[in-house]
Amino acid sequence: MKNCLVVDDSRVIRKVACRILQDLHFSTDEAEDGIAALAQCRAHMPELILLDWNMPNMNGIEFLKTLRKERGGDQPVVVFCTTENDVAHITEALGAGANEYIMKPFDRGIIEAKLAEVGLV
């Protein structure tokens, strides 16, 4: 079973995303900001990271840039999942090493389609 780390400062979003991912046969872990997510990645690198942009302490783009420099940090598929829906943010995310991008609001169909896009379902 593949593991997904869901990084979002909203407990409700984490819960909804985790439920969908578990339905899609992922095991899930949660982190509420970039710093907590980095600590978890250093302990155990997940196959997939679902990543919010706007979070306290360390935001999504800072987390991604740091992650990609870490040992093994090039391995996880990173899918942004954010309300930042404009082309400039999307382009910045792809430039920083994001594999896909989900524009909130999302539903199960969108998550499934995006994971199919990166070959994970």
């Binding site: 792809l94 896909e100 896009e117």
Partner: protein, 279 residues
């Protein structure tokens, strides 16, 4: 709605579009026709059907269109597009190197996601810069769908199903909460309202036909007739793509499925062997 109403409606729709209305879908039909009833100023769907019996053409047409299925998404059933990009297109580019002309038809294009998906692949292959002329023809029974397709404006949800984010950024422009297909792709596609039961005289010498998830709504005879007409319109070395649950078995003497790609059909075993080598 009475059983008699349903039977009348089923007969009318079948005559107009070939669509088979299962008797157990009556409740669904009411939901699909409610907007038409409102648009034409009827109190309810039963009143609409009452009026329909008087043979009002514009109403009958709107009803038949409303009962078609328009479910689609970009790169729906991705395998078909992979086959197009990796096998069908390279084979055609070799075979048409002298004329540098391709003719592709999407027979039931709904809101345009299928032809625009093809337009993205063709644009990414940079064929226009190499002097290729490509006729990308897209038709649908529903004039509402054709109007939507021509507009090329899609919701947040529509662009997130089947479309990689890099393609979204490359081929669409954001308009408030929606996304519009870029003008260069929109101009690649010729949209036209068309009934698959009508004459295909204007559709000749096609290289590829996408007719996916359409035949499933027709009866046996209509399926066979449509396949015959497609066979006539398709070039000898052309390819037909059907939906992954659809088949030509018992319907066509002309088309042969490819062993390695059962949703792809060519005309005759010799052509199938040739394509098997390419595949």
């Amino acid at each position: 709605m009475t059983e008699e109403d349903i039977a009348f409606l089923a007969q009318m729709v079948r005559r107009r579009s070939g669509l088979i209305l299962p008797a157990n879908k009556a409740r669904l039909v009411v939901g699909q026709l409610a907007p038409v009833a409102r648009r034409f100023g009827f109190r309810d769907v039963a009143s609409l059907i009452g009026d329909l019996r008087h043979g009002r053409e514009s109403l009958a047409r709107a009803v038949a269109e409303a009962l078609t299925t328009n479910e689609s998404s970009f790169f729906r059933d991705k395998t078909a597009f992979d086959h197009f990009r990796a096998e069908i297109l390279p084979q055609l580019l070799g075979a048409r190197a002298k004329t540098k002309r391709l003719r592709i038809w999407c027979a039931a294009c709904a809101a345009g996601q299928e032809p625009y998906s093809l337009a993205m692949l063709l644009d990414e292959a940079k064929l226009a810069a190499q002097g290729w002329m490509i006729d990308l023809i897209a038709t649908d029974f529903s004039s509402d769908m054709i109007a939507r397709a021509e507009e090329g404006l899609y919701t947040h949800f529509e662009v997130q199903r089947g479309l990689a984010i890099r393609r979204l950024v490359a081929h669409f422009t954001q308009e408030e909460g929606n996304w519009r297909i870029n003008e260069n792709l929109r101009r690649m596609v010729m949209f036209r309202q068309f009934n698959l039961l009508d004459s295909y005289g204007w559709l000749d010498d096609l290289d590829v036909v996408f007719c996916r998830n359409v035949l499933i709504y027709f009866d046996h005879k209509t399926k066979a007739d449509v396949l015959d007409k497609i066979a006539d319109a398709l070039a000898a070395d052309g390819t037909l793509l059907l939906g992954h649950t659809e088949s030509v078995r018992g319907l066509s003497e002309v088309f042969v499925p490819l062993d390695h790609a059962p949703m792809l059909f060519v005309k005759g075993k010799a052509q199938a062997l040739k394509m098997a080598v390419v595949g």
